[in-house]
């Protein structure tokens, strides 16, 4: 077996009396695209957030590229720049233009020169298809455009892994397509991706592996074809019946 880029070992997360994650164990290989699905409140976001240390775990270990990020001696900030995250609500910095949103983290975290960072930013805006919106503030961008900037911002840090938490569910159906296409392109370029989504079409088409969660546990994992056509777990079956 290859050396996995993400290793999740028996991770649990407690919120008060609620167990949001309950003994999750999994490994993700370099270049793999994993889609996580599951009902609301099942712990998908929480799992994703533990992968870049936004959430501390109550128990267990998480290794990113061989480093245990649960270890308090680890410099979590350096590590985070290796793990890009794209949120449902974009979370662009509201006081910065699209361009500056992409430049600023580079200069602050990677100590790049402004000139260099700007070049990177403009190339990425080109790549996500909105070079002409460089000077707009987030409020002056549509949802789809904001999400593209958010993705470009993550990519500028040259992450090894990209995490997407319902990156399209705040978008209107017409603009969803473009963002999904962008994610597909990343997948074909060999980026390791962990994606929480409700877009079953996307999951089927792009995922190497689908994980189904409920009650903080991984109930089923399989290739997309197997998962959608021959689900085994009874909870998965109910879920899929309601959603398709």
């Amino acid at each position: 077996m290859k050396d996995p880029i993400i290793r999740i070992e028996n991770v649990s997360k407690q919120f008060g009396t609620l167990k949001a994650l309950d003994g999750v164990t999994n490994q993700i290989q370099r270049g793999e695209v994993v889609v996580i699905i599951g009902p609301s409140g099942s712990g998908k976001s929480t799992l994703l957030r533990t992968l870049n240390g936004l959430e501390t775990v109550s128990e267990g270990n998480v290794y990113i590229d061989g480093v245990n990020i649960v270890d308090t001696r680890v410099n979590i900030n350096k590590l985070r720049s290796k793990v890009g995250m794209v949120f449902q609500h974009f979370n662009l910095f509201r006081h910065k233009t699209a361009l500056d949103n992409i430049i600023m983290p580079q200069t602050v975290v990677l100590n790049r020169k402004r000139k260099e960072a700007e070049d990177v930013a403009r190339k990425l805006l080109e790549k996500v298809g909105i070079p002409e919106k460089a000077g707009n503030y987030p409020d002056q961008l549509s949802g789809g455009q904001q999400q593209r900037v958010a993705i470009a911002r993550s990519l500028a840090m040259h992450p090894k892994i990209m995490l997407f938490d319902e990156a399209t569910s705040a978008l209107d159906p017409e603009t969803v397509g473009g963002v999904l296409q962008l994610m597909k392109d990343l997948a074909t370029e060999g980026m390791t991706m962990v994606v929480v989504t409700h877009e079953m079409g996307f999951a089927r088409e792009v995922a190497d592996r689908v994980i189904f969660m409920d009650g903080g546990q991984i109930l089923e994992e399989a290739t997309p074809d197997e998962f959608f056509d021959r689900p085994k777990n009874s909870r998965t079956i109910t879920f899929l019946s309601q959603i398709l």
Binding site: L54, N91, V108
Partner: protein, 244 residues
């Protein structure tokens, strides 16, 4: 009839002339007071805002003991009259036998008023920081920024704008509190006015009217600025419909 009217008008003119005479006589004297009010309030606002800002930021960092200490500090300064605070700082501190605590009037005025100001600014700062959606900080940290960097580059630039309107209102309160400084012999505006009244007790109401006008001239632009800033930047109170 006409003669009577003429007489009445002459009498009126006499009164008006007399008042103008008083105004001219007192103006230099009152201007001195206004200048002192201006000096003390500007310095106190400057130092108080800096201190309050730092305390406000520290309060949001989540170090329990510090948060508790700052909370007690706030309650003491907000729960007791400024007169009592001023008294203790000017008259009681020297009895501690610590050399530098033996302030002269002016220093004591600045120190006490700065502390008083800071108690309000702390509250405003905390509220403004909490008003920024959590997603902003999370996005910054996902890019690899440290907690401090997220605060400096993402959260504070956004909160600062929102702090302007409530700060300006508090400044007006502080400007008006300087009236109490006469107990330690600072000749600010109210004090100068009352000294003037001792000289011309017959015109007590007119002199008070003059003082009110001079406060108005100083405070009104500050309030207008607050109003303008509220429209331009939004206020803590009017933060709304943002996803969190």
């Amino acid at each position: 009839m006409a003669v009577k009217l003429m007489g009445g008008m002459l009498e009126m003119a006499d009164i008006v002339l007399a008042k103008i005479q008083i105004t001219i006589n007192l103006m230099p004297f009152l201007m001195q007071g206004l200048l002192m009010t201006f000096k003390v309030s500007i310095l106190a606002i400057l130092f108080g805002s800096l201190l309050g800002f730092v305390l406000g930021v520290v309060r949001t960092l989540g170090y329990r003991p510090l948060t508790a200490i700052i909370g007690i500090y706030l309650h003491i300064f907000r729960g007791t009259p400024y007169l009592v605070q001023l008294y203790i700082i000017y008259f009681v501190f020297p009895s501690f036998g610590v050399g530098f605590l033996n302030f002269d009037s002016f220093t004591a005025a600045i120190v006490s008023l700065s502390l008083y100001t800071s108690s309000y600014v702390t509250e405003i700062t905390t509220a403004a920081i909490y008003a920024i959606p959590r997603g902003q900080e999370e996005a910054a940290r996902s890019c690899g920024m440290s907690k401090a960097e997220a605060l400096i580059y993402v959260v504070l630039p956004q909160s600062l704008k929102m702090m302007i309107p409530p700060m300006a209102s508090i400044y007006v309160v502080i400007i008006k509190s300087t009236a109490i400084l006469s107990i330690i012999g600072i000749s600010e505006l109210t004090r100068q006015g009352e000294v003037a009244i001792l000289r011309m007790p017959g015109d007590i109401m007119f002199v008070y009217g003059l003082i009110a006008t001079m406060y108005f001239i100083y405070c009104y632009p500050v309030l207008r600025f607050a109003k303008w800033a509220e429209g331009a930047f939004g206020s803590i109170g009017s933060v709304q419909d943002q996803e969190s």
